[in-house]
Symmetry: C2
Subunit: 452 residues, 2 copies
Amino acid sequence: MGKTQHSAHGQQPLPRVVIVGAGFGGLAAAAALARAPAEVTVVDRRNYHLFQPLLYQVATAALSPADIAWPIRGILARQANARVEMGRVTGVDRGAREVVLSCGRRLPYDYLVLATGARHSYFGHEDWAHAAPGLKKIDDATLIRQRVLLAFERAEVEPDALEQRRLLTFVVVGAGPTGVEMAGAIAELARNALARDFRHIDPASARVLLVEAGTRVLPSFPDALSRRAQRALEHLGVEVRLARPVTRCDEGGVVLDDERIAARTIVWAAGVMASPAARWLGAQADRSGRVKVREDLSVEGDPDVFVIGDTACAEGADGRPLPGVAPVAKHMGAYVGRRIARRIRGRERGDEPAFRYRDYGAMATIGRKAAVATFGRVRLWGLPAWLLWALAHVYFLIGARNRLVVSVNWAWSYVTFERGARLITGATEEQPEAEAMQARAAVPAPRPSRAA
Amino acid sequence: MGKTQHSAHGQQPLPRVVIVGAGFGGLAAAAALARAPAEVTVVDRRNYHLFQPLLYQVATAALSPADIAWPIRGILARQANARVEMGRVTGVDRGAREVVLSCGRRLPYDYLVLATGARHSYFGHEDWAHAAPGLKKIDDATLIRQRVLLAFERAEVEPDALEQRRLLTFVVVGAGPTGVEMAGAIAELARNALARDFRHIDPASARVLLVEAGTRVLPSFPDALSRRAQRALEHLGVEVRLARPVTRCDEGGVVLDDERIAARTIVWAAGVMASPAARWLGAQADRSGRVKVREDLSVEGDPDVFVIGDTACAEGADGRPLPGVAPVAKHMGAYVGRRIARRIRGRERGDEPAFRYRDYGAMATIGRKAAVATFGRVRLWGLPAWLLWALAHVYFLIGARNRLVVSVNWAWSYVTFERGARLITGATEEQPEAEAMQARAAVPAPRPSRAA
C-alpha cells in the first residue's frame, strides 16, 4: 500500500482512521481530523462528493452534474494527513479490524467511520424501481431527466390522443422536500422552459401530480408552512393528492387505492433505506436499516467504530429520531472527528459530552419563486424564503467555481426561463446506440500482471 | 402528423423541406430558410446541437456536456416555419420522396437536405473501437473522460510497477486538430489539475504519446505552423511520434510497426467515415463514404436532394476536396438553404452560382497557452493565437448562457488549474451499478395503444 506514515516523535506508525463515504458526514469527519496525528483514508465508490439537495435540479435540466458534484481528491488535496481511495466496500471484518473492498483489497483501521448514506426504498416493492426511479445519485438524475424530456419528445409525434395524454402526465410519489421540489420543478419546466419549443403539443398542458400517503405535504415542517407549500404548488399547476397511498407502480402509471392514473413518467420520492452498514457490522438496525448507535455515535460493543448520517439511527433532544438531512450528517461527522482526534491524542476524559444536534432549521423550495423555511420560531415563505434558500445553497456548494457557475445558471434561468442542461444523453430503448452501450460496459479493467 | 401549414395565398400546402441532422450544416440551412414560405422539419436523433470543436474539453474534464450542447428546439423556437423531430433516420425512399425513421414513421419531403455528419473510422479495424474510442459524440467524450480519470485512480492503488506504468500511459492516435488538442489537454490535466490529488503516484509522471502515420502534426496547416505546434506539444511533455502507422490497438496498448507501447488508455483521432447517407440514396460515394455532389451540392439526378457538411464530397477552388470542418458545413448549409428558398419562390434563374467555399482560415489549440491559426497569409501562434481561438470559440458557442458559463469555467481553470468537470459517471466494470444499467436499458418505450 505504499509508504506508511509515522508520527513526528519516532517510528511508531500513526493510527489509521478509515472513513467510508464522502458525503456531508464523511467529509465533515475528515475535516475535523485535519490536524490530528493520524492517517486518514476516505473511501468512496464515486470519485466525487455530491451536493444531494440540488440533485432534483439536475433531474429537471436546470443544472449539470458537474455543477453539484466535486472531486473528493480536490476537496482533500490540501489535507496532508488524508488520502482518498475509490472503491466499493462490501463488508467490515470487525475481528481483523479491516474494511473489505469489492476488488479484494482490505484496509486496516484503528478507527472506523461509516457514513454510507441511504438509497430510496420501495417498501418491499422493489419491482417498482424500473417504472418509478428514485433520486439519490447522479445517474438517477440523468435518467429522470432523460425520461421527462423524452416524454415531451414522444408526445409531440404521438398520433393517439390518449397515449399523448399519458406521455404528458407526470406523477411524483411522496411529498417530502424532494418530492415537493421535483413536482414544482417539472411543472415549471413544462410551463416555462419548454413552452415555445413544440409545434403539436402544448407543454403547458402537462399534468403534474404529487401523491402522498400522509395528510399533508412536507410533514416534517410546521402545519402552517405545509399549507403554504401546498398553495404554492397548486399555484404552479401541480395537483396535490393527499392521504392516497400508492398501491402499484408500472410502466402505464400508478394506482392509488381505487384510482388508476395513466402516466408514462413516475418519480419515486417516498422513502429511503439505509446502506447495508448494519449488515457489514452485524449490528442492530431499525426498520429503515439504520444502525442503532450509542450517544457518542459508536456502535454497541465497539467504541472505535462510528456510524453517522443517514446510516445512523440517533435520537434528538426530544427523543425522536433525527431526520436524514445534510445538517445532521455534518454535525455528526464533525462530532465524531473531534472525538477520534481527542482519543488519539490521549485527551479524552471520562465525561465527554454525548452527541447533541442543534437544529438550525429546515427549508424546501417550490419552483423559482417560493420556498418555506423554519428556524426555531421564525417561519418564512414566498420569495423571501426562496432567496434565503438560494443564498444558503449557493453558499454551501463546495468550491468557488461551482458557486459562480450555479449563480450564473440560476440568474440566467430566472430571467429567461431557459433551461440550459436539457440534454437527453445516454442510450434509450428507441435509440439503442448499441456501440456506446457496449463500449461503456466494456471499460477495460486492467488486472495486475507482469507481462508487458 | 397534426396540422398542415398553408401558404398565405390560399389552400395550397406549403412545400416541405426536411433537413436531417442538426449540426452546423443543418442548422445553417434551416436558418437560411427562416423567411421562406415553407414547412421546415429538422430531424435529429439527439435533442441537442453539439459544438463538436470543444468536445475534447468534455473528454478532458474541463467542460460539462451541457456547456457545449444546446437543445435544438430552443435554437429554433422562434423560427415559426420550423419544427423539430427527434428520431433516427434509417433510409430515404427517393421514389415516394419520403424519409424513413427507425420508429416506422415516414416524413414526406419536397426538398431534402442531408447533413448527417461523420463518425470516426478505424480503416477496416472496427474491432479496435473498444480499446480505442473515438471522439464524435457526447457519450464518446464522457466515456473517454471516465477512462482517463479511472486510469489515475487505478494507478494510485496498483501495487505492480509495470501495470502502474501502463495505467499512466496515454496514447492519442492521429495528429489532426482533434488529436493535437486531446494530447495537449491530457498532458495538462496530468501536470496541473491532478498534480496535488494523489498520494502514491505522481500524475505529472504520466506519459502522453501522440502517434501519427504522416510526417507532421496538423497536416492541413502550413509547414511552419506544424513545427510550432509540435514544439508546443513537446513543451507540455507530449511525446510526438511521426511517420509511425498504428498496426494494432488492444486493451494492452498500441503497436507501431515494430514497437509495442503498453498503455491502458487509447484515444482514436485518426480518421472519419461519413454517415450512411450515400447508402440511403443509392448514390456514388468516395472512399470515406462521402456522397459525390454536383456543384450546387445536389445529388446526381435529383436536383431537390442536397448533401452538405462532412457527408458531402465537394471540391474547393483548388480542385482539392473540402475538409470536414464546421465553417465548410455552415457555408454549405447557408448556400443550400438560400437555393431552396429561391426555388420555392420561383426566383431561381438559369445561371445560379455554384457553391464556392471562401476559406477564412483554421485554428488548433495546444493546451491553455498556445495555439496555431492561419488566415490567408496571416499566421499566428503562441498566446495570441490561443486568445483568438478562445474568443472565436466562445463567440460561436450558441446561446449567451453557454458563453458566460464557458468563459467562467475557462477563466477559473486558467487561474487555478482546477478542472471542475472531472466526474467519473456511468457504470464501470469494477463498479457495476447493476441497477442503474438495468434501469437505463429499460426506459419504458410507450407504444400507441387505446387501452387506458
